[in-house]
Structures are given as C-alpha cells and as structure tokens.
Amino acid sequence: MSWIVNAENINDADRNQVGGKGYALALLAKGGFAVPDTLCVTSETYQEYVCRTGLRERILLELNRKGFKDMRWEEIWDCATRIRNMFLRKPIPFEIEEELKKVIEAQFRGKSVVVRSSAPEEDAISASFAGLHESYVNIKGVDAILDHIRKVWASLWSDAALLYRQEIGLDVAKSSMAVVIQEIIVGDKSGVVFSKSPIDHSQGVVESVHGLNQGLVDGAVEPDRWIMDRKTNTIISHTPAQRTHWMIPDKSGVQRAALPDEIANRAPLNAEEVSRVFKLVLDAEGYFESPQDLEWTFNKKELYALQSRPITALSPTKEDDGRSWYLSLHRSFENLKALRDKIENQLIPGMIAENEKLAKVALAKLPDKQLAAEIDHRWEVNQKWTKIYWDEFIPFAHGIRLFGQVYNDMIRPDDPYAFVDLLTNTEMASLERNHLLEELAQMIRTNASLAKNLAAGQYEDLDPQFKETKDAFIGKFGDLTCTVTGGTQCEPEAASLYRILLEMAAHPPTETGKPKQGEKTALKENFLNAFEGEHRKQAAELLDLARSSYQMRDDDNIYLGRIEAQLMAAVREARQRIDDYRTGGRRRKIADELIQVAENLDDRPRFQSPYGQKPADGFVIQARQLVGQPAGPGLAKGPARVIRKTADLAEFKYGEILICDAVDPNMTFVVPLAAGVVERRGGMLIHGAIIAREYGLPCVTGIPDATVLIGNGDEVTVDGYLGIVTVGRSDL
C-alpha cells in the first residue's frame, strides 16, 4: 500500500487502510454515483509518521502519566492539548511529504479541497464517531493541505475522541487514522439524508440548508426537514427552519454569514429536489445493502454524494451511545458569546442583588421561627446558585479552551499553555481580595503595637484605621474561615484572619507575577497579526471572550462564596441563640424548628476526610515521586502544608507548599504565602493553577491522593515543568 491513493484504485483489501469514509466513497464512485474527486492518505502513512517522529511513544507516555480512569475530563483535555501541539509542531518526514505533495499537486493543483478524517475505527458497527474527528473545508494549496492532514491526525486524540473510545472500550494504543481529501463542491444547497428514520422505520428524513452543509453538521445552521415515505418516495411532512444564516466559503475556510432575504424566504429544496435527494439515499441503501446516512450537495443541477455511512444505531434516540454528551463538551463561539452575555448581564448582577438582599435582613431581630425559615430560604438560594454555577458558569470555561486551540493552531508555541499568559492579570475578585489583605498586612508591618496586640490575642484596642479596613474586608469577603464551602463552624472574632495577616506581615509583600505588560502586548500583537481582515476581528473578539471566561473562572466562586456566607451568618445566629439558652444566658425556650434546622445542617457534606495510611504487618508505603499535570512552570522546595479542613488554612506559614484536595477561590488567600501549589484535582485551568500562575508559583495538579500521600511538614519539591512532586529528602 502506498502513502496516498486515488479513490478509483481502492479495493476491498484496502478497507482498513483508507477507513470507512474513504472506502464508502470509493464504492460510490465505482457504483456510478456522482462523487467529488477523492484521494485517500492511508492509515499506514499515519503510522509511519508517528513512528518515525517518535510521536507514538510520546502520546502513550502522555496518556499513561496516570491511570486514564483517574483523570478528570479537564486533565484529559490538557493531555489532548499537549498531543495536538505535538502534531502541529512535528513536520511530516521529507520522503513521505514529497510523495504526498506530488500526488496532491497532480490531482488538485489550484483547486480547493475538503480534508476529512476517515478512521478505520469509525467503521465499527456499534460505534459512531461522526463529528468526533475533525474535517476542514475549503483548503487551498499543497502546503495548507499537508498542514490540515496533521490537524486531522491530531483530532484522533481530542478529548472527546479519547473519552468516547474509552467509553466503548477501544484500545487507544491501536488507534489509527486515514484522511480523505476531496475536491470541494461549492453547493448552493446541501444537507444530510437518512434512508431510514430511527423513530419510524417506514420513513426517512431529508435535512437541508442553503449553502454548504458544514453548518448543519456542527449545529450552527438549522435545517429544513422533510419526513419521507420510504415506499413511495413522497413527502409526508415538511418542517421549515428559521432560516437566518448559511455557511459560505471565504478566502481560507468557511464562514457563517447572514442569509440574504430573498434566499431566506424560500426552502432550500423544491419537492422534486427533495425526491431526488431521497432517491439518492435509497439507491445507496440498495447498493450498500444497509440503511445509509448520506451527506450531499447540489451544485447547480448536479447532485453529489459527499459521503455515506451505515446508520449504526436504529434505536429511537441517537443519544444512546453517549456521543452527544461528548460532543457537547465543545461549544461554538456563537454559543459562548450568548452565554457570556447571560452571565455578565444577568447572572452576576443577579448574584450581587441576591447577596445584597440577604445582607439587609436583620437576623438578630428575627423571632426563632422566622430565623428557621430564613435559614431554609438561604439554603434554597444557595442550592439554586450552586446549580446555576454548574449549569452555566462551568461550561463558560470553554471560552478559554476554544481560545487555546485557536492560539496553538496559529502560533504553534513550545509551551502549549503559553496562551494563558495572554489571559492573566485580569482583575479577578480573588486578586482584589488579596490586595486588600496585603494592605492590612502592610499596616501591621509598620505599626509595632498593632502587631504586638494581634500576636498576644488582644483584639480590644486595635488601631481604628486597621479595624475599619478589616471590617470592610470582612463585609466584602467574609472572615475567610466561614466562606469556604462546607464550613459550618466559624472561629470567634477574626482570629484566623489575624494569624494569616501576621504571617504575611512577617515577610516582604508578594507581587502577582508575570508577564510584564510589554510582553503581554507583544504576545497579543503576535497573535492578532497571524490573522487577516475579518479573521483578525474575530480573533480579537475571541481573545476578549477568553479573558472574560478566565476571569469568571475565579469570580463566580467568590460571588457564590458570598451567598454561602449569608447562609452561614444565619446559621451562626441560630447557634448563638441555642448556646445562650443551654448556658443559661437566655430564658425563653428555643423554637423546635430552629433547633431542627440548625442541627440538621451539620449533616451537610463537608471536606471529605481522607483515609489514612495503615501500616500492614510491618510494611509501610510512602510516596516518593508523584506524577500529575504540569500547571504552572517553575521549581520550588519547602515543607508541605496539607489542607484537610478549612481551619488548616489559618496555620499556613510563609514558604510552605500548599497541598490540597481542591482549591476553591475562597481559599486562595494563602497562595501569596506559598512557595508552590499541589492539588489533587487535575487541570491547567482550575482555580489553584490560575492563582498560582498569577503569582508565578510552580504548580502541579492531578496528583491522586495528594492529601493522603503527603504529610504535614514533609519536605516537598514541586516540579512545575514536568508535573512531578517529589516527597522527602534524598537519603535512602
């Protein structure tokens, strides 16, 4: 088998080499169907590429950093990002490239093409990979085509593809990828047709849009839909779409554009054309001897089949295989823009208003029963916003990912996370909080008697200006011990806040780190200059969206923390009353409702207590070198401070390594004191990693059992380049 073959020369034996899509196209061409000119880059070419360049083992090393099942989706996305960057940066070996160039130029000189994935696995009867691997439309010139072949190869390792393979039990080590290169047919109307409907087997479905069908396939353009009678090839019903957009070719690629009115007013197909399209799929079904799902396009009067594949799951819901969930991991730009609008103009103001409303209630004046009702109410409010947080705020983080992919595609940097530098130093709420803390610490540094009083626990006669600033701080951010998820107990006064402040005051101020403004501007220019015209404007918009997404990653939790603090304030009031009654300070009996509510709340889940290490008959295990994900470059060494419960944060000392299960932004006030950050939860874009990056600290995430395997005071080295944490000294 050679590196690249013309569809006309593909035989039965080549099926594995050209993948399902390539093979079906070859058969269609042989069967006399009108198909575009097609070349197939064989899966052997892919294998040769990954072997010769060493990528095969690099990918496996990346995927085997830790057990796949131990990886969170965020870590898998990180792995996929690093792997994609390997493909982008590793050219095709000269000899193979020359051969590909020769054949591609001979076939497609001066013509635009579509570069599509055609993985042999896509053939597996039970598995449908549709949409999981990438396709690129309107690519011109042999160099650009070769470039996009590598992008299609890389899509074999996208997060969604990895997860899906894992789910259906395919061995990732055996994955391979053929690529189909087709001459582009610039259709005036296009679509997808199913010869048999999954809902009613006596029917079929035609879907059609104006322009190219790229938008239909990825959901960006809504299609008109016809339900067809299979026996008579007649229309049973027609559901018109809200026709607003279409996909049309631009200089390089395709763009979604507003549909001109005169076209929007009419359905893409007339009855005769619908019938022609449906006949095409019925013919294909007869030819392949199984129900088909076929992509087609009309160019003037000529109808082309672009690809055809068996309908894999003829069950009522296509969601059954879970693929739609994996696909939903990827949000389109348009989609994210709408989400941003909702978050910035509706949800965040909503959270602020909610917090203000709650803050106005004079808890001390509420009778017991009303206080109980208030706690219930605040619990509900808290639940409501927590759900919104998961449903709306978390998906918005995809703005960062989308930007990351576009940035890496254009710039191909050494560090696949260089793009994060373009997003940092945005004014995040937790940084604002940390600046206020630093201000308080500075007051202690310059006021010896204040420092003395605080250290001695004498809080009565504190400096008035300090007190005022502190009260303002607590009013805005809580007293640090109460605002953390699950903490239903608060320390009296602001003792733990003072402890942290004293520790900060004992050391020089920490500044948020890199990059310097000049470098950042250069990075930005460099990024934007990679685009031209309309694309440059879109790139700038995407950067703006990513910055908002990055900032929101932090802010949402801070706002949520404030609402939670309101709940806790009501709980504290209840506990105070119960205590007073039990210690005789209050005579009136406490209402049962209040006791019930206050005590019931203790059952809420809190920090999980990690299981301890039990020595088994004289054998003791100890972690030496733990591998996670590199999340902030740098190397740091120091004693470990393991955070198992909120109160541990108050013990944090300057120069310690923060070891925790999952940092939420409400906890990140200790980060300026830390020398490095280690987190069990994995990912480059989690809060701990984001704040560590702001302060220029080495950070490793995704260390399984970090808070169990590492003990308080253990000497720990954090290697933020390799994503490794070394525990203990080096003597045996």
Binding site: R56, E57, L60, L61, L63, N64, R65, K66, Q613, K614, P615, A616, G618, F619, V620, I621, Q622, A623, R624, Q625, L626, V627, D705, L722, I724, L732
Partner: protein, 150 residues
Amino acid sequence: MDPTEEIRSRLRDLCISQKLAVVATQSGGQPYASLVAFVTSDDLRHVFFVTARTTRKFANLTKDSRVAVLINSSANRESDFHDAVSVTVTGSAEEIGDAERDHVLSLYLSKHPYLEDFAQAPSCAVIKVTTKSYYMVKNFQNVMELHIDR
C-alpha cells in the same frame, strides 16, 4: 484494594515474572553492577541469588554487605517508556547458612531449573539479601516506596 497491599501485589507479580536482576555492589567506592538469576520470598522480605565465590560481586559483598538490586519488566521496546515497571531494592546481603540452604535452593531451582548444576556446585554461594526498601517506578516517572520495618 488497600494501597499497601496493591503495591505488594504488583511487586510480587513483577518478581515472579522476571528471571534476571542487576545486583549493585561496591569496592572502595567503585560501584559494580552484575546480572543475576534471582528469586524472592513470597513476603518480599528476601531476595536470593547464586554466585560463584570467585566473582567480583561475591568479593565485594563479603566486604560490604550493602547492595541494591534492580528488577524491571522492560523488553527493549519503545513502549517500555510508558509500559515497563522498574524496582530498585536496597538491603543487606549474606551467604545463607546450612539450615536454610535446602529450602532456599528448592525455591530457587523451581524458578530456574536449568541452573541446577550451577546452583549446587561447591564453588557457588547462595546469597540472601534481607530487603530494607523497595522503590517502584512505573508510568515513566511515578515512584512509590515500600519500607519494611524490622
């Protein structure tokens, strides 16, 4: 599975699957590495191997009993980098006494039957390494330690 038990069971599997190990000894500060056929006790407290008394390793360990033993599953393939498990064992080596000899030799020969003549030659010594720690490396750079209290 209990994490300690999990590591012990992985170590046991590796020791059973591998026939050869590298033993490191030293003389006058000069490290010296040798390939040996080995067997471990089921509880991992001992590693046994056989050596001719004329060898450099035997001379070295007679002078300084501290040794390191490297056992690994690499197969000289690219995939070793993500697939192979490697274990460094530290401990102290001595020639076994007559009381244990029959028992250990039968354990040894059940794993290495082809070495019968060699193992039973009068010029050979059966060496017992009393293990102190196991350092297990997997997934390229993940390192866990198992220490044995005595």
